[in-house]
């Protein structure tokens, strides 16, 4: 029996993604640099996850992501407590739990890393949701720091010239804002380099995600949730590009060696919406135990989903469209199209849809998307009602029954 156990352990060891260690190292260094920015004379900007970070990198400003902080709070299972604290501060329990947890963490340096470094400025782009406006206003008041708002109109179908001009003008204002706050002029040559690195990073990230089209998939969406951090936080830097080159090479080796994220991968699923950060391990083990691998998701691919709109030779100009047409700022029909493309590309047997209590722009329209997908591809879907951060919104036995029943249903339709 001991021999059997050892064999299991070595198999598990083989399935582990080795790049994880490097990623942790980069993120630790990044947070240390951000937290010691005052001492090193660097400026810190808080920025929304979908916001244009490249101009910040070009200006040597360290970008810090309250949403990434929210994810860390959720993964550390500190979300329930911080959300409760925000309710004590007078915020409604119906608000976004990223916002609530971050607002509650700020005055007490709460959360797993003892609070985020204080911002010298805040950059809020509403391409991902409307809640960020109030969230950033609150934090700008709390830290007495200047706030820049980039308003990106929703483009249900097309991106009009008016919309382009409207956003493009704001990008000019954004640069003027940065010049004022940093006390130096904007370096357009540097911006071109950063833009190129950003595009290269996005291409590499997409290439990493594309490796999951292989059977068995070398990684799962749960791995993607983790490795995503760099394309969000350090997009436009050499480090991010180098890292994704390493990760891509590892994925290719795994494919060559036949190493899958899930042993006996039989069913291939697609995840929609943000992860349930407090339950990723539980969910990952649950699906693995049913020989199901979540091979793709609409969330992590959002950071490379608008590459087609970017003009490498004129990043600033094309940025207006690229940042306006992100997954959460388009129409439901277009979102469904994206899901259908992914179903075909990654050979998906079923959809796992997280109806996220916090995230209205992401959860709105999910039932329509499920309907469209069922009609066009005959692929079934299930809904998990939960929250990305607030673990009080998760009922394990309810979710478990749904997953079990869904996999029984898929298994009956697709006998092994």
């Amino acid at each position: 029996m001991a021999g059997h156990g050892e064999k299991e352990d070595s198999k598990k060891q083989r399935r582990k993604i080795k790049s994880v260690a490097k990623m942790k190292e980069i993120m630790t260094t990044y947070y240390i640099e951000a937290k010691t920015a005052r001492e090193t004379g660097k400026k810190v900007a808080w920025i929304t996850s979908g916001g244009p970070v490249e101009p910040l990198i070009a200006m040597d400003v360290i970008p810090v992501y309250p949403e990434n902080h929210g994810a860390m709070i959720g993964a550390s299972k500190m979300g329930g407590d911080l959300c409760e604290k925000s309710e004590q501060m007078g915020y409604s329990p119906d608000l976004c739990s990223y916002a609530c947890a971050d607002i509650a963490a700020a005055p007490i340096n709460g959360g797993p890393i003892g609070g985020l470094p204080e911002p010298d400025m805040l950059i809020c782009c509403n391409n991902i949701c409307g809640s960020v406006l109030k969230w950033y206003e609150i934090q700008a008041r709390h830290f007495n720091a200047p706030l820049f708002i980039l308003d990106t109109p929703i483009s249900h179908v097309d991106f009009s010239k008016e919309a382009h001009d409207y956003v493009r003008n704001q990008i000019r204002d954004y640069i003027a804002f940065l010049e004022k706050e940093c006390g130096k002029s904007f370096d357009y040559d540097r911006m071109n380099d950063v833009g190129r690195l950003s595009i290269e990073g996005q291409r590499l990230w997409q290439a990493v995600l594309d490796t999951t089209a292989n059977r068995p998939s070398p990684m799962s969406a749960f791995d993607a949730f983790f490795h995503l951090a760099l394309i969000v936080t350090l997009r436009g830097t050499q480090e991010a590009t180098d890292y994704y080159k390493t990760l891509l090479a590892e994925m290719k080796t795994r494919i060559k060696d036949g190493i899958g994220a899930v042993e006996n991968e039989t069913y291939r699923l697609l995840w929609d919406n943000l992860p349930i950060w407090s339950k990723t391990k539980w969910l990952s083990e649950k699906f693995s135990s049913l020989n199901a691998c979540l091979v793709a998701d609409t969330y992590t691919s959002a950071w490379c989903g608008t590459m087609k709109y970017i003009d490498e030779t004129d990043f600033l100009e094309s940025m207006a469209q690229a940042y306006s047409r992100v997954h959460l700022n388009i129409g439901t029909d277009q979102m469904a199209e994206t899901v259908i493309e992914m179903i075909d590309k990654y050979h998906i047997d079923g959809l796992v849809v997280h109806s996220n209590r916090s995230c209205k722009p992401y959860s709105f329209g999910q039932y329509d998307i499920l309907d469209i997908v069922r009609k066009k591809r005959g692929v079934p879907g299930m809904v998990i009602e939960a929250d990305m951060v607030d673990e009080r919104s998760f009922s394990e036995s309810q979710v478990e029954t749904r997953i079990d029943a869904f996999m029984e249903m898929i298994g009956a339709a697709k006998p092994v």
């Binding site: 809904v383 009602e385 919104s393 309810q398 029954t401 079990d404 029943a405 029984e408 249903m409």
Partner: protein
């Protein structure tokens, strides 16, 4: 060939024996706080009632929220799959199942073989379930068994707007204090359950013939409320409460 299905629900534990493709014996018991003990107990009780030895049973399949705590089960399967199989056994024409048990409610779409095509389940809230009815019966000081009959006598169903069990209870208490007739209140409660289930029915695109299963199928008032909303007659077996256990036993056969 004999197989047994054990369905451990939040309130009631059900067991069924299938012998050579036919329903052979059944048993009901309260689950209580220990679902493992409830499974052990009903296994013995049903064997005794059917005059069988444990070795006579080829396979045991457990289901229900306590499905993973049944020690003698060879396999566990969710109640959603089991209700599909059970409903097909009770009436092969069935294409949709409305199952309302103690703590959850579901609408299940099945094909001609009883295989699940799609399903919707209530969220983390007990409104519109058996437990909800229990709470309301207590507030009204009416025996739950009389709920169905009394609601049919309600001429003007009260409007119960709250979606929360606790708030609905206080709504009902305020209706009582206003002197509203119990019959009307009960009819209103049934209508509110009907509306909740209709939301799920709409989501999966319910198709007839529709069968109602689960313990709440004993309540004629709830059935009438559904029939009005769906616009067709529901099929209700005398073994409605046992559907999950029967399905489990059939899966084991």
């Amino acid at each position: 060939m004999i197989s047994m299905g054990i369905d451990i629900g939040s309130i009631t534990t059900k067991a069924a024996l299938i012998k050579d493709g036919a329903l052979f014996a059944t048993q009901l018991a309260h689950t209580g706080y220990n679902s493992k003990a409830a499974g052990d107990k009903i296994f013995k009780q049903l064997l005794a009632a059917a005059d069988l030895k444990p070795s006579d049973v080829r396979r045991v399949v457990s289901t229900g929220y306590g499905r993973k705590s049944v020690s003698m089960a060879d396999r566990n399967v969710t109640e959603i799959t089991c209700h599909g199989v059970g409903a097909r056994f009770l009436d092969p024409e069935t294409r949709s199942v409305i199952d309302i048990g103690g703590q959850d409610s579901k609408v299940i779409l099945i094909d001609k073989d009883g295989k699940v095509i799609d399903f919707a389940m209530n969220d983390k809230c007990a409104a519109g379930t058996g437990r909800f009815l229990e709470v309301m019966a207590r507030a009204l000081e009416v025996d739950l068994a009389d709920f169905g009959r009394m609601s049919l006598e309600g001429e003007n169903p009260s409007s119960i707007s709250s979606l929360c069990t606790v708030f609905a209870e206080s709504e009902i208490i305020s209706l009582i204090s206003k002197g509203e007739k119990r019959e009307n209140i009960i009819a209103g409660i049934h209508e509110s359950i009907g509306s909740r289930v209709m939301a799920m029915a709409g989501r999966v695109g319910i198709k007839g013939p529709v069968m109602m299963t689960g313990g709440v199928a004993k309540n004629i008032g709830v059935i009438k409320a559904f029939e009005e909303k769906i616009g067709e007659t529901l099929r209700v077996s005398e073994n409605a409460q046992l559907t999950g256990a029967i399905g489990a036993a059939l899966i084991g056969a």
